[in-house]
């Protein structure tokens, strides 16, 4: 925090340039934006920076998953019934060929974990984006227009937050599979993203609505109206920039929650379907045979999930401290 105060102090000194210093001051006349200051604070947060490194590493693993396949010579879906399973037909433990062991079908766990990172990150980012964009638009409309629009949208959000997410998700899956009119809509990536987004936007909407309600009463909004600005301009130019900080903070903390949500759905069998490699599905599969010995099958996907969510969470905390040093936001 101290460096921040210093930075503001320095710029204020430069605010009253004398003729002598005017030429010198010209170069540094540009004020530091709140973003620059926040990023500077973030850069000095060691834990957040380490976690950012971990996140970059995970992203690299996901992007470079085919490289793992190339190195080990084992494909993503390739089954090794002979070398990948022992005499009793059980998975083999970590060894020189399969570095992290194999699964029940004799597939290379390392390669599948790397491919599983793709699903986790993709769903984490895309479902979060859907959630945040949807929640922002609806929260902005509810908070700004107020009245009947607000009543309807706010009650809908309350209702949505009251619906038990997992029960609904599981039943949606069974409905989707057997529905006679809509045909067979099997569970899969699009459904996972839609379900997570549908149940996620309400909390973003509530956060945004609350912020808009307080920002709307600020005099600068009244000033904009007095200048003749229309509702769109006020929402986009005057209100939205004030929402970006809480939204960035919320999004970074939402990503790990979404990743866990996707893993949960897949664990329950209503998410990403086999044979696609997915961490939640691996954990689910492993938990049934865990007691018979193959500890690696449960351990390594779990560690991958743990490290990913932990890295995103600690990084998110750092982002919150950087963007909201006074602790105004309760996200």
């Amino acid at each position: 925090m101290t460096y921040d105060i210093q930075a503001v102090g320095e710029s204020q000194d430069a605010a009253e340039p004398t003729d002598v210093t005017a030429a010198v001051a010209q170069k540094q006349i540009e004020g530091k934006s709140p973003w620059v200051l926040a990023l500077r604070r973030l850069r000095r947060d060691r834990a957040a920076m380490i976690c950012l490194g971990v996140i970059i590493l995970i992203v690299a693993c996901a992007v470079g998953a085919p490289i793992f396949a190339e190195i080990t010579g084992h494909g993503n879906m390739q089954q090794f019934p002979n070398i990948g399973r022992d005499a009793a037909g059980q998975p083999v433990g970590p060894n020189g060929t399969f570095w992290l062991g194999t699964d029940t079908l004799g597939r290379d766990l390392l390669v599948r974990i790397a491919y599983g990172a793709r699903i986790s990150l993709f769903v984490g980012v895309v479902a979060t984006a859907v959630t945040v964009v949807g929640g922002t638009i609806i929260g902005l409309a509810a908070g700004y227009f107020g009245g009947a629009v607000d009543s309807i949208l706010a009650r809908f959000m309350d209702w949505l937050l009251a619906v038990p997410f997992l029960l609904f998700a599981i039943s949606l899956f069974s409905v989707a599979v057997v529905h006679p009119i809509f045909g067979i809509i099997g569970p899969g990536l699009p459904i996972v993203i839609i379900v997570l987004g549908f149940f996620g936007w309400a909390s973003v909407g509530r956060l945004v609505r609350g912020q808009v309600l307080s920002i709307k009463e600020k005099e600068y909004i009244e000033a904009a109206r007095a200048l003749g600005a229309g509702p769109w301009r006020i929402m986009l130019v005057d209100i939205l920039p004030n929402l970006l900080a809480p939204l960035i903070v919320y999004s970074t903390l939402l990503i790990p929650a979404t990743i866990v949500g996707e893993a949960t759905l897949s664990f329950l069998g209503v998410g990403v379907q086999p044979p696609t490699a997915d961490w939640g599905q691996m954990i689910s599969d492993a938990s049934t045979i865990f007691l018979y010995g193959p500890w690696w099958y449960l351990l390594f996907p779990s560690i991958a999930l743990l490290i990913t969510t932990l890295a995103f969470n600690i990084f998110g905390d750092g982002v919150r401290d950087a963007f909201d040093p006074r602790g105004d936001l309760y996200v």
Binding site: V8, A15, I29, K32, K218, G228, N242, L244
Partner: protein
């Protein structure tokens, strides 16, 4: 109440001279009740039958206690609030119910300067873009052209144009208020409504901003409606002054006339509260201390709204509403809404109300029993 006649009497000027005319303006705010089913809606009577005129090039001071409806009146005139009843003319054109699209071009001519130099500037935007807002909203200038215009405005209000790219947080309160003034000046508006522009500032900074405003008025021929609760500030800047109490104008007169011959007991009490620089004068003067608090604007008192606190209150004040007309043979532009106006030299701190405490009707809803 015949507002038209009183308003007409107030203006010795011709119609051409009048820039802003407000006639019988009423603004009620519904009170949100916590009850689930509302049987009867209650309203805050923020502004009640206010009529006034502002002439080109003059400064009309608007004074009154906090909550008396000054700011609401200003925001109604600037069309930030919809009006409950009454009419507003600006520059010979009625703007009372003009739809937003038609109102937009007129917004260039009616501008506002706000009270809070911290709240009235968006903290996330650079000063250049804040001052350039009028140009981008009305699409009159962009890019380099806009930057030049903004920097010219900054120079005009005494800001360093090189600070174009700074954020509001990097300026002091006085400088921020200058930013607000620059923004209001963008299109050389005909009317600027100053809503307590100096009350949030240090006294030394107040003088700077007041001088800036009067310099700008001289150079650009501006018309001001100047709201304040500091009487010495109002006396300094205003040509004419209107005193408001609980949503009504109780007295209206040229500044010097008002200070010389206050007619309404409320005006008299306000003026007696102004600090005097000369301690000898100050100790000689009798301060009029009003009894009680301002009544609730949800249930304003019957008759004269000031009667529950007035030292001169009589039965007429409870039942009859006084008109805003010339009293005690004053000049035509000095109006007061009082049945028993204060005579020159009268000391109302010696007066006692002629009616008992329990006869005073604080809430109009109770009048049936009185």
């Amino acid at each position: 109440m015949t507002h038209e006649t009183t308003a007409a009497a107030a203006s010795a000027a011709t119609a051409d001279d009048v820039l802003l005319k407000v006639d019988g303006l009423v603004k009620h705010f519904p009170v949100k009740s916590s009850k689930l089913i509302q049987t009867e809606r209650e309203y805050v009577h923020a502004v009640e039958h206010v009529s006034l005129e502002v002439r080109r090039g003059e400064t009309l001071g608007l004074v009154g206690e906090t909550g008396c409806g000054k700011s609401t009146l200003a925001r109604c005139v600037a069309r930030l609030y919809p009006v409950t009843a009454g009419r507003i003319w600006f520059d010979g054109r009625e703007i009372t119910n003009l739809p937003p699209r038609k109102m937009r071009p007129l917004r260039r001519d009616i501008q506002m300067i706000f009270q809070d130099p911290y709240g009235s500037l968006n903290p996330r935007r650079r000063v250049g873009s804040i001052i350039g807002d009028p140009f981008s909203i009305h699409r009159t200038a962009r890019g380099e052209d806009r930057r030049r215009k903004v920097q010219h405005l900054m120079e005009l209000v005494g800001l360093n144009p090189e600070h174009y790219n700074r954020f509001p947080a990097e300026f002091s309160g006085g400088q921020r208020q200058r930013i607000g003034v620059a923004r209001a000046l963008a299109f050389s508006p005909k009317l600027i409504i100053c809503d307590e522009p100096v009350s949030a500032l240090d006294v030394s900074i107040q003088a700077q901003i007041l001088n800036l405003l009067s310099d700008l008025q001289r150079e650009l021929g501006l018309t001001y409606v100047f709201i304040a609760h500091d009487l010495s500030v109002v006396r300094h800047v205003s040509d004419r002054v209107a005193v408001m109490y609980l949503g009504r104008i109780v007295e209206q007169a040229p500044a010097e006339e008002m200070w010389g011959h206050p007619r309404h007991p409320y005006t008299d009490a306000l003026l007696s509260a102004v600090p005097l620089p000369d301690p000898e004068h100050a100790s000689q003067r009798e301060r009029i201390i009003l009894a009680g608090d301002v009544p609730s604007p949800i249930h304003p008192p019957s008759g004269c709204r000031f009667h529950p606190r007035c030292p001169k209150a009589r039965q007429t004040c409870v039942t009859d509403e006084p008109e805003l007309i010339t009293r005690l043979g004053d000049r035509a532009d000095h109006l007061a809404a009082c049945h028993y106006p204060v005579a020159d030299g009268e000391d109302i701190s010696l007066s006692k109300p002629a009616i008992a405490e329990d006869q005073r009707v604080v809430e109009s809803g109770l009048i049936a029993g009185a």
